[in-house]
């Protein structure tokens, strides 16, 4: 198992803030909008540097998405910022008609996704957003795993023409990817090469998968860990190449098991190479208040859950 160490921990939303500032410096057409959550989205540095390119919309997310669509007419590259719940479910029809169907170059940037939002509880812990967004034709869906990857992804989507949903979160997490990485949309990253099982993980679950990989190694199981940061378009080639070797799969995500990464992988498997798969995901329920680590344990989204899923899927695969 390749060793991943870290010296620093930060939240992925801060990676977004850093990336937005950098994207703003590189391209004068980058503009930002926020619906009364500037501090939560870490947009302060961008606003300080480019006050005239920031739009405070107030608590009016539908208007924010519509205005973002309008700003693209004239060549602007708008980044909208609010919590994941208010970035997707609340404004689904605005995104569908004014952004996706209208082919607008809007970047919908969503913080506080999933259970790790913690104490605010289920009203804010959206677990359905990946599904909602990936069903929209033409929408790119990205869920990076740490500060550095989120920063790199934010810079990369400014250079890509088309609607993007960028999902990140609130908890402070180890920084284990390279600071100077080049983020390639739609290209999976092999975290660890292995032969016994393929673990496909996205977002905060990538670090849990690494910890699980170390536990599995001590049990004599050689896990291949692949980071799927781009859920749509999915790196089908990387998925099929890995499973050709391992013959069993565990998918890991901070999302409802319905409609997320797991279902995207399952669709590839069922059409190309039907082999056993286990899901590490929320089992079709809402979340609740609590400390993030407690929630991740209770809802089965940590390293221990991944290890159990690996044992189960290997047994199913006759290994």
């Amino acid at each position: 198992m390749k060793k991943y160490t870290y010296t620093e921990q930060k939240d992925t939303r801060s990676g977004f803030g850093a990336g937005l500032l950098e994207a703003g410096k590189r391209n004068p057409n980058v503009v930002a909008l926020c619906a009364d959550l500037v501090g939560s989205l870490k947009m302060e540095a961008f606003i300080k540097e480019f006050p005239e390119r920031f739009i405070q919309t107030g608590i009016a997310e539908a208007n924010m998405i519509g205005m973002a669509a309008g700003l693209t007419i004239g060549g602007k590259i708008p980044f909208t910022g609010t919590f994941a719940n208010f970035s997707t479910g609340r404004v689904y029809d605005q995104i569908r008609q004014s952004v996706a169907y209208s082919d607008k170059n809007v970047k919908i940037c969503a913080s506080h996704a999933g259970l790790t939002l913690g104490e605010d509880g289920a009203t804010h812990q959206i677990l359905e957003d990946i599904g909602l967004m990936k069903m929209l034709p033409g929408m790119t869906v990205i869920n990076p795993c740490d500060f550095n990857q989120t920063k790199a992804a934010t810079i990369a989507i400014a250079d890509y023409h088309g609607p993007v949903y960028l999902r990140f979160g609130r908890p402070v997490m180890p920084i284990f990817t390279d600071a100077d990485q080049k983020f390639e949309i739609g290209k999976a990253w092999t975290v660890n090469e292995g032969k016994d099982v393929s673990i496909f993980a996205t977002g905060h679950l990538v670090w849990e998968a690494i910890k699980a990989g170390e536990i599995l190694e001590s049990m004599g199981i050689d896990a291949e860990i692949i980071n799927i940061h781009t859920i749509k378009p999915l790196d089908v080639e990387a998925v099929l190449k890995s499973v050709a070797k391992t013959r069993c799969v565990v998918t890991c995500e901070e999302h409802n098991r319905l409609g997320g990464l797991g279902d995207s992988i399952a669709q590839v498997l069922v059409q190309n190479d039907p082999i056993p798969q286990e899901y590490v995901a929320v089992n079709d329920s809402f979340g609740e208040s609590g400390v993030p680590a407690q929630l991740m344990e209770k809802y089965g989204l940590n390293d221990v859950s991944i290890v159990k899923a690996v044992q189960k899927v290997m047994q199913r695969a006759g290994k």
């Binding site: 973002a68 309008g70 700003l71 007419i73 004239g74 004014s98």
Partner: protein, 281 residues
């Protein structure tokens, strides 16, 4: 009456012919609001706006129009085609399969002249404000126009946008409301009353004008007045009073023709009232 106004009226006659023929051709669509807004759209595209039918999405240096009440697409398509955005013959494909002329306006099939999809109501004002803001950021002094139904004002997003524009001094925007007092289920006063629209828009901080929407002279006059009021720190709202179905007597006076197509006899009766001025498609 000036020759200019007479010419605009002649164009409006042809557009109204196009509308009823398009809706008849596919036996679906929305003639009522289209006929009511014909004079306004003809005035915009043939007189008031500076625009280039060699369509460019970003519209740098051009005035831009957004149709928020997308169901009145027949009038929009006719005016775009008659302005030279796409071949007039393409109007015959309205709402038919493999056409760029979709039931509601869309960019997806790359129909020149359409910059945003509309149909699901209440979204166009936000889009128009975004485009107006982009013009300000680009140092582009041209204007943004938008059109909305009065029933559409029942959508909450309209009021989010209505609050935003004055606060942010979006004063390069002229928003027109088609006040015909009708919606699908009946008179707006019965379905969900709109109250005092002038007082509402003024309370939100808009400069409000009123227009006789089926009087071409007044349409041009009020649009020119609205333009003279831009750049003064406030967005401008025009309450445009129209008659749903204007120009076809039996389509006027009720909500009945909001979304119903004429049969063969009704088409003939309608066309008899609308002289062919520019040649049918």
């Amino acid at each position: 009456m000036s020759q200019d106004i007479q010419q605009l009226q002649a164009t409006a006659h042809q557009v109204r012919r196009d509308i009823v023929r398009m809706v008849h051709g596919c036996q679906s669509g929305h003639p009522g609001g289209s006929l009511g807004c014909t004079d306004f759209l003809v005035a915009l595209y043939f007189k008031v706006m500076k625009h280039n039918p060699a369509f460019n999405m970003d519209a740098i240096g051009e005035d831009v129009f957004f149709l928020s009440n997308g169901h009145i697409s027949p009038v929009f398509y006719s005016v775009l085609a008659r302005s030279g955005y796409f071949p007039i013959a393409e109007l015959a494909t309205f709402r038919k399969i493999n056409s760029r002329v979709q039931g509601h306006p869309a960019t997806h099939e790359h129909l020149p002249g359409v910059r945003i999809a509309s149909g699901s109501l209440g979204q166009g004002l936000s889009v128009a404000i975004g485009a107006a803001k982009a013009k300000k950021l680009n140092g582009d002094s041209r204007l943004v126009f938008s059109l909305h139904g009065d029933g559409e004002l029942q959508e909450g997003q309209i009021w989010e946008a209505a609050m935003f524009a004055p606060h942010n001094k979006i004063d390069n925007l002229i928003t027109t409301i088609d006040v015909n007092g009708q919606q699908i289920d009946g008179p707006t006063a019965k379905v969900l009353t709109l109250g005092n629209l002038r007082a509402k828009w003024e309370a939100f901080g808009w400069d409000v004008l009123e227009m006789k929407g089926n009087d071409m002279e007044d349409v041009v006059k009020i649009l020119e007045l609205a333009i003279s009021k831009t750049g003064q720190g406030k967005p401008i709202a025009i309450l445009m009073y129209t008659e749903m179905g204007a120009g076809v007597d039996f389509m006027m006076g009720s909500h009945k023709w909001h979304g119903v197509a004429p049969n063969n006899e009704q088409l003939a009766a309608a066309l008899a009232q609308l002289p062919e001025t520019l040649g049918d498609y």
